[in-house]
């Protein structure tokens, strides 16, 4: 009986038999009984439906990869976005430390030796809140066991004493923070090393970071010693060369053009991570000008991570669009852009860290955060939405039924609550400058001090109405001309192109791409038309 004469089922069974036989007699399959480890393509705390929907939305991950010898996981440019705010539904937003930690844990669960590095720029603002946030993020990065973390320009605009408190070694715990050309209190102060050498999966990986020259010029902080990136790298590259590294990584906080120039000057770096570029990093990072190695962009706001899988030999399996690249020493590697979307779920450790951050903001209060106040361009004060209700009844009814009327409640009921966070408050109460995260003079301070200014109310669009309300109520005597002028100043009509433009721009102050990516004026207006 030949094989061809076998019935289809018999052919199949014989084929399986052959395969099983081959595997059984193969000495390399001694560990075949071990259950296969899952690919690190989703987090532990999310369900199949969410993971599948994110995969369809943002693409599959690690397609065709076999376990690398070591995985370099690269993040950066968090720019203060420690979590997606959730204004438009967290499932529609990317980023956040919580998802990032779950990604790292998924890689570890897959048994892939991991080296995590971060380009830097954990914050993007200046002041007490940025200092508290930087400390929180630094704690989070230590907790996630990062091997190396660079500095961004906004990090380095913070006071040196705050930076040092956040990044310096404590006891036996070393610091992951590293810079070849920036020294806190001097390059020889020894607060942060100039490079790191780490081992993973039997590979030795050397990592250093520089702040680009354009960024160096933009910082005025006398407590830092900074030197041109190329001069610093000349010193550090020599030491790295002697460390016997299998791969070398440069975290370059400069423009892609600047980073490419450094890569050309120091071809020993296999992975050059750059700042700048577009919000969304390329699917496949471009090769370096030196032809070996790769230039990694990360996008902005910590929405993406990029993985570089290093192999001992050519990866056997890959998809048609995933090229195998090579390091300067000829070691093959694959790359993967990773969107930090809802497939990763939330991590308890990072949620606790975020809760602690919010608690610190509450303890400090607005005064402790040393927020400035801005005078409203009109010079007027706020009356609160209730003051409008007595005359503008129908408009008030529409407002009460809208999400605007419970904007502060949303923050109070969030987990953890965000109602003491100026970056959230600015769009959830009356009388703040949305994009500056500061109150106007006389704007909302707290439920206790300014209860009439809670929620997103009338005056955020129409302007401060205290004078108008006082005149209409007869509390202040004004001429008819003055009364009409006050009325006219608060009128906002979308019937004219100018009025519509003013209204749309006003909406965009809060409904921006970060917090309301689906915002469409005509669609949203229907929910509050009055």
């Amino acid at each position: 009986m030949s094989f061809a004469m076998l019935p289809p089922g018999g052919q199949t069974r014989l084929a399986v038999f052959c395969a099983v036989l081959a595997i059984a007699f193969c000495p390399a399959t001694a560990n075949a009984a071990d259950p296969p480890k899952p690919l690190p393509d989703r987090g532990p705390n999310t369900n199949d439906a969410v993971a599948e929907s994110m995969r369809q939305k943002n693409g599959s991950l690690f397609v065709g990869w076999r376990p690398p010898q070591a995985l370099l996981l690269i993040t950066g440019e968090l720019n203060g976005y420690i979590e997606p705010c959730g204004c438009a539904g967290k499932e529609n937003q990317k980023g956040g430390l919580s998802r990032r930690q779950n990604l790292l844990q998924a890689v570890e669960a897959a048994g892939w030796p991991l080296v995590s590095v971060d380009l830097g720029n954990q914050v993007r603002r200046f002041g007490r809140q940025a200092e508290v946030k930087f400390q929180s993020v630094a704690d989070g990065l230590r907790e996630m066991d990062y091997a190396a973390v660079g500095f961004g320009p906004d990090d380095l605009r913070l006071p040196a004493e705050e930076l040092i408190a956040a990044v310096a070694s404590v006891g036996d715990q070393g610091t992951p923070f590293v810079s070849a050309n920036v020294g806190l209190l001097g390059l020889d102060a020894g607060i942060t090393p100039r490079f790191q050498v780490v081992k993973a999966g039997g590979l030795t990986i050397g990592i250093t970071s520089v702040l680009g020259d354009t960024e160096v010029e933009s910082i005025r902080n006398d407590s830092l010693e900074m030197m041109p990136a190329e001069n610093a790298l000349r010193e550090v590259a020599q030491a790295l060369s002697k460390a016997g590294c299998d791969a070398q990584v440069l975290l370059s906080f400069g423009s892609p053009e600047e980073s490419q120039r450094l890569a050309a000057a120091f071809p020993q770096f296999d992975v050059v991570v750059t700042a700048g570029g577009a919000d969304e990093p390329p699917m496949i990072p471009p090769p370096l000008a030196s032809k070996s190695g790769v230039l990694v962009e990360l996008g902005h706001k910590g929405m993406y991570a990029v993985a570089v899988g290093l192999y001992d030999e050519e990866p056997a399996a890959r998809s048609a669009v995933q090229p195998v690249m090579k390091t300067a020493s000829g070691r093959p590697f694959l790359t993967q852009r990773i969107p930090l979307d809802a497939r990763w779920g939330e991590s308890d450790d990072m949620l606790r860290l975020l809760g602690s951050y919010q608690k610190q903001l509450e303890t400090l209060g607005l005064q402790g955060l040393k927020l400035g106040t801005t005078r409203h361009p009109t010079g007027r004060r706020f009356a609160g939405s209730q003051a409008c209700a007595s005359c503008h009844e129908s408009a008030h009814e529409v407002w009460e039924a809208s999400a605007h009327a419970s904007a502060l409640v949303t923050l109070e009921e969030a987990t953890p609550p965000r109602n003491h966070d100026p970056e959230c408050l600015s769009c959830h109460v009356v009388g703040w400058v949305p994009q500056k995260y500061e109150p106007y003079e006389g704007g909302f301070l707290s439920r206790l001090e300014t209860p009439h200014l809670a929620q997103q109310g009338c005056e955020n669009c129409h302007g401060p109405a205290a004078a108008h309300a006082a005149v209409e109520a007869g509390d202040v005597v004004a001429s008819e001309v003055e009364r009409e002028r006050l009325r006219a100043e608060l009128t906002l009509s979308i019937a004219t192109p100018e009025g519509r433009k003013k209204a749309v721009n006003n909406c965009l102050e809060c409904h921006d791409l970060d917090n309301s990516p689906s915002f469409d004026f005509d669609e949203y207006w229907t929910t509050i038309a009055h």
């Binding site: 094989f3 061809a4 052919q11 199949t12 084929a15 399986v16 052959c18 395969a19 081959a22 007699f25 000495p27 075949a32 995969r55 369809q56 939305k57 693409g59 065709g64 200046f126 002041g127 006071p159 040196a160 004493e161 040092i164 408190a165 404590v170 209190l185 001097g186 020889d188 933009s218 910082i219 005025r220 006398d222 830092l224 700048g276 577009a278 919000d279 969304e280 390329p282 399996a317 890959r318 998809s319 607005l366 005064q367 400035g372 106040t373 005078r375 361009p377 009109t378 010079g379 007027r380 004060r381 009356a383 003079e441 006389g442 004078a467 006082a470 509390d475 202040v476 003055e482 791409l513």
Partner: protein
Amino acid sequence: MLLMGLLVTAVMPAPSWVVHASRSSEHVQRTPWVKVKGEWGMNRGPSARMVAGVAALIGATIGAATATSELLLRPLQLGEMGIVTMLSDGPAPKLVTSEISFNFGRMAVGDKGTHEFPFTNTGDVPLELSKGATSCKCTISGLEETLIAPGETANVKLEWTANPGGPGGDFRQTALILTNDPLRPEVTLSIEGKTFTMWDPYPQGVTFTDLQADAVASATARIMTFGDNPPVVTSIRVSQESNVVVNPVDQGENEVAEAAEIPDSPYFTAKAEPLDEALVASIPGATGGLLVTVTSVPPLPPGPMTNQLEVVFTFNGSGLSSVLSSVKEPEGGWIAKLGVKANVVGPLAVAGAVWDAANELVRIGPVSTVTGYQTKLFVTAKGEHRNAVKPRVIERVPESMQVEIGEAAAIGDGVVVRFPLSISIPAGSPTCNHLGSQQGKLGRIVLETGHPDMPQLTIPVRVAVSP
């Protein structure tokens, strides 16, 4: 084993390699080994011939068997299907794309751009396409015909409106296309380029970190411009826009106030000059630029400061960039507003891993007398008297705490001088409580500094020594 595998492969009739044709989750569903085994009769996974082929490969590559056996014993991934399909000569769609990314070059903010990406099917069966996700504000069209017959080509069109109302800069938008090509189940199309506005500042504001109250210090920002002519500055000022820390008492009156002119800041001045031509030339599309220098005017009040720089400039009305021809110069010119922020500090400061800057104390906490403890702080001196500072310890609480002051070192260009302080609680120190509670007041280190305005520096220390 090799022979057996090859033999089986050779005698098997050619299978029909069926790829899931649906365009949602199913066709990119992973095909686990056990599932393949359980669905043999349904012809939904790798065929018997493929399995035998894989077996033959295993036999042939015993030397490198680890990787291959892993391939068999863990869920197969999509990319790996390529290996399997190499063994199959069954019909399948095959997607060929001549380009998957397109660079629009420079676009003015608000402009629209479209580009069509040709998709060709060089396979034997129809190629199915469907839309996956796109980045925000990016739309796909041209997918009305979701089936591309063998040998035919269809276009997928991406349209993008360049970040209306937003800043200029690099952009990249992607769109995911799902297909039934087993080798390319997902294709990501990408458009990119640079958008620009009439002017673009860098950095976005001017920040003075740890500015000393009596210092005359300068910081710069540059404003790149994209008009047809270089900019001409008509006025420049720093206004005291926001300099009052939140005060709950000051809620104001309901007065019928006029919009008040915000006064000039008494603490900062500003000047603007043309930016270096070489720098302008290095920025694509830039036609001019301004270097703005902000300088502090002492004495400055301690604490945080927020002011605003306003630069008014014109392109002299001879027409704007042709790309931005729809944009009219505002009456009075363009106004660039940049924040001027500073934190004003005294001449001496403390830093270190255990320095709590918010509460201005050293946090050591409970220390075991068995192990002892050591840490390091820095004292920094700034301002004109920095070189007169020669710190000396004149008091320690607890007395068992040892403090050693190291050599002075200038930081960078010498504007700041640092002194290291090595602090230790030696093993065997007597127990004490200086945690700042009712049971014990905070400890302290008192330094005689030599600074004429601040002759003593007291550093509170939260520490306790336990048995």
